[in-house]
């Protein structure tokens, strides 16, 4: 599903595949807060770079929030 011009598309693939559609310019920090995710445990990917929590995300953008926490016995 491509990002529509009037919304922000956010997706995660782990632990389960999840997707959200948000509306209007907002910071990465605010998005993570809405999804109840700790910024210390994730990276936020946009194209081939990363966004810090203060970066603003606009309608029409697609971002991946990827968990950095791996489990299991080391």
């Amino acid at each position: 599903m491509p990002a529509s011009q009037n919304s922000i598309r956010v997706f995660m693939t782990i632990p389960q595949r999840r997707e959200w559609e948000l509306h209007g310019r907002q910071s990465v920090r605010k998005i993570l807060r809405q999804l109840d995710l700790n910024p210390e445990g994730v990276i936020v990917i946009h194209h081939d770079t990363l966004l810090t929590p203060d970066e603003m995300v606009e309608n029409g953008m697609e971002i991946e929030v990827r968990s950095a926490i791996s489990g299991g016995l080391p």
């Binding site: 700790n38 910024p39 994730v42 990363l50 926490i69 791996s70 489990g71 299991g72 016995l73």
Partner: protein
């Protein structure tokens, strides 16, 4: 956010260091942290042959990538655990990595080389998958390192892994484990290879960021058996603490290395003898723990 070094656009914020870095300066920071860990604990030198245990996940592939970048003689060891789709996908990531970098890989298949896979072993032994899996991995790491005459075995354990394990060990006051939790485990002339963890100064978020920015393609999916593992809970707890009080995780872990660990380190007074089946070192008479479990698995089936 701006890069602390050059003022360019930052790709990562590191509150525990009061900094943010652009891609170039993040790579510099990351690689310096690996160098620092290697030096601080005298892990290995350029003449040593290093075997890197790789799972296809971010930490182990990043470790291998960085060690090769530094010019170390680092080969990989991948164990196919026979965990369905997860194993086939992770082994593909490792093969792609090897091909792209002309690296050397030792490949072991638990099913083909030892006659069982992890899910089957868990079922037959009526244990959680991580138990036979951990036993098999530890055994094969050591055996492959010795058979290939490597000087040292390196694993991709990061700051979060080690802080979570430390937290679990402190919570239950596992003094024996506390004595053995250290970035370097010296070799035992009885047949245990030296083991090191060069990524202990970097968090999981940092290794994930390095992988994405450096184009190290890793398996994002978790092992299906890891869901709900206790370490994951401890990692989340520690990250909640870290957000409120940046630097907590490293203080907890480095403080233990500097001031805690020695008090728990017991002299290894148990002598190792060769297993009567495979020759690998064991503290028991007769079969080593691995051969004992394996013989149980293979006879139940017969």
């Amino acid at each position: 956010m701006k890069c602390t070094k050059c003022g360019g656009r930052a790709v990562i914020d590191l509150k525990r260091h009061n900094s943010g870095f652009c891609k170039e300066h993040f790579f510099e920071y990351f690689e310096n942290q690996v160098r620092k860990a290697i030096d601080e604990f005298s892990m290995f030198g350029l003449r040593d042959r290093i075997l890197v245990a790789v799972s296809g996940g971010k930490d182990s592939l990043v470790l291998w990538d960085v060690l090769m970048r530094f010019g170390y003689q680092a080969d990989g060891l991948y164990i196919d655990l026979g965990i369905g789709e997860y194993s086939s996908a992770s082994s593909q990531k490792v093969r792609d990595f090897v091909l792209a970098r002309q690296a050397n890989l030792r490949h072991v298949s638990l099913e083909q080389d030892y006659g069982y896979g992890v899910p089957e072993a868990a079922r037959r032994l009526r244990r959680a998958a991580c138990s036979p899996c951990g036993l098999s991995k530890r055994y094969i790491f050591n055996r492959e390192a010795l058979e290939g005459s490597y000087d040292v075995l390196a694993t991709g354990h990061n700051l979060d892994d080690e802080a979570a394990v430390l937290f679990g060990n402190v919570l239950r006051w596992n003094t024996g484990y506390l004595g053995r939790q250290y970035p370097v485990l010296e070799e035992d002339p009885g047949g245990l290879v030296r083991k090191v963890k060069p990524l202990i100064r970097l968090t999981e978020r940092e290794t994930a960021a390095y992988a994405v920015l450096q184009g190290v393609d890793y398996i994002v999916e978790e092992c299906p058996k890891a869901i709900g593992a206790r370490t994951t809970l401890y990692k989340q707890l520690l990250n909640d603490l870290e957000i409120q009080s940046p630097g907590s995780k490293q203080q907890f872990l480095y403080g233990f290395y500097e001031r805690g660990h020695d008090s728990f380190e017991a002299s290894r007074d148990v002598a190792l003898t060769p297993c009567t089946e495979c020759g690998q070192p064991t503290t028991r008479e007769g079969l080593c723990a691995f051969c004992q479990v394996r013989s149980r698995l293979l006879t139940v089936r017969a």
